[in-house]
Amino acid sequence: MAYHRYDAVIVGAGGAGLMAAIQLAGKANIAVVSKLYPTRSHTGAAQGGISAALGNVEEDHWEWHMYDTVKGGDYLVDQDAAEVLAREAIDAVLELEHMGLPFNRTPDGRIDQRRFGGHSRNFGEGPVRRACYAADRTGHMIIQTLYQQGIKHNVNFFDEHHLVDILFTDDGECCGVVTYELKTGELHIIHAKTVLIASGGYGRVFKITSNALAGTGDGIALAYRHGVPLMDMEFYQFHPTGLYKLGILVSEAARGEGGVVRNSEGEAFAARYAPTMKDLAPRDMMSRFIHQEIREGRGIDGKDYVLLDVSHLPPEVIDEKLPDVTDFARVYLGVEPKKEGIPIQPTAHYAMGGLPTNVEGQVIADPAGSVVPGFYSAGEAACVSVHGANRLGTNSLVDLVVFGRRAGKQMYRDIQEKDFAPLPANPEERAREEIETLLGRDKGERVADIRKTMQEVMMDDVSVVRTESGLREAQATIRQLKNAYCNAAIMDRGRVYNSDLTEALELGCMLDLAETIVRGCIERTESRGAHYREDYQQRDDKNWLAHSMIYRTPDGGMRSDKKPIVITTFEPKERKY
């Protein structure tokens, strides 16, 4: 066992974690922990763009961006946070350019911008070009640029360290983490004044997902086990255009550049549902339109997919602006997008919910906003909440850089003022016991079987359209799976790179999260944003204009609560596109 001491430990080396690290580098003693190599982080898979009201190609204002964010989130967004997001996006994007990010350029040499779903001019009048982009690999450029800055600033990276516990004092102050070094199987205690969870989302809870295999929500689940609440877990975004059966993302930029989605009759049906924004309606709506078309028998060949058509775009636009996504269609489906439609279906994409934080990235413990001392979160792991019930395209990248930066700055203030809190006695005990139990069990349930059943039931009953009966079934199944997990057995008993073990640990985290998602879905008896209840089809502002919070109780059960949302500027209205 190894012991380390740092002013700050950042868990997750994606956009949010690295952005925070860069604020602290050179000023504080910090460590960045990743279960991968940093450039493997899922930020790198983001494609289409990062929005900021630069107004480089047409008139735009951050107030319009804020409005779109609030409306896109079906008014569940905290508007103070949305204001921060939209205002600071401008500086954040410029900061990325200053760091060297190679954005595409306008003829006069400025950062180019393009259209994206739900982003509008003048409070909903029509699409606006707000998404700054680098071909269709904007996330790749962000992760590369931020990692490069990390190297430049000599950040200490703990690569291939798997988070196995978060440490708190008896008073609830966060004081470090425990990691499992993949290469050696050794446990590391990292004692810290401040801890940032920037470990990303948990799309792997679902069968069809755009998320990396590493997207298992470890940081969120471990915090939850220590009594930290989770917020808005019922809001999980299904991106309308995932490659059929594979779930691999085909960026909204394809529609931003002029692509349309067609049913078996060749109809570009989005215009029928959303006359103003058409194919650039927000993702929750597009996913439901597709679901509806398929249900009414207009899927291709009667199957559960439709076609994304970019064949009418000039070939040079496809090559210059959409090279990667069209390549995915060629490689994985054998389809030539310049000539034919790309088979697509909704794919589990993004968690709006997560660890509740204030706008400084500090995790909060209750509806009143009491801060958990020393404990931070940013990025997809966190819920600020700027995405509310449905995130707009490009806003995840904005969220990463804006709130990763804010969290880093607040951590720095915190580090100046506080001392190290004492570690609990035997800090690694809980993690060690969990690991030794898995390594020691001779036979039992197979991890892959439990995981597959979980992913299927979450896809069948907890995805685009939900009902009470389906959710109850899912709840019962997840309970059985949690019991089965208590007897899970693995085959690899070694210490060196035991990914059999870490996959089991990840499954344990995902089961906890699946349980909270289902609970949130059952309780929220309305439809809002990405949460669509067929048995409660209307939005119910009277009872549900509020965040949900779920706590784990000491006996392993769950307790739920509501937290009021913050409305500063835009009164909730019916959401039309």
């Binding site: 190599y37 954005f103 003829p107 295999l213």
Partner: protein
Amino acid sequence: MEVTLRIKRYNPESDAKAHFEEYRVDVEGTDRVLDALNQVKWYQDGTLTYRRSCAHGICGSDAMRINGRNRLACKVLMQDLGKRVTLEPLMGFKVEKDLLVDMEKFFDAYKSIKPYLIADDAPSHGERRQSPEQRHRFDDTTKCILCAACTTSCPITWTNDEWVGPAAVVNAHRFIFDSRDQGAAERLRILNRGDSGVWRCRTIFNCTDACPRDIKVTEAIEQVKRALIYDQV
């Protein structure tokens, strides 16, 4: 279809040396090699070890030798490989376990060429200007995902520990030809060194063949060489 995977295995905790083991898997033609590996790991032998994450050719985790060629396991479909598929770890780096190699040397080489923008002229407001043509100049090398497929396909890497390798040169190129960067001279000096620099390159094109992002790696290396000879950036 039924396919036999012939996988080179090595467990440092129990094996004196590497050996092949065979596994039969039932796959769809459109399954990725990674899907076949997962099938083995999840349902036959949990000890099989490899890196993977995004599963669609973006994160760069799962480069390996597939029927003798460096490829990403998530970007090659089973239908393109035949009934017997041989999977081995990348060559030139120490094998840690099965298909997983030590990447430290690779990242050290990457860091040695100063892979970050060197510029002290950020404007106080707004972005630096760069024309689409200037931006296009280094577009190809911005695609690198640091998977190491190129560097470990290079025969020079196999025999020369000093050589920074194609990936490091690609990333140097990305900055040397960026109109905003001021560190070209520094990087070129590093790449002009005898044992480690670009002159070790023998223009074999293995790297270009191996790149899963279709980067013209050899061309990028040649452009760096020309920059050194003709002082052209």
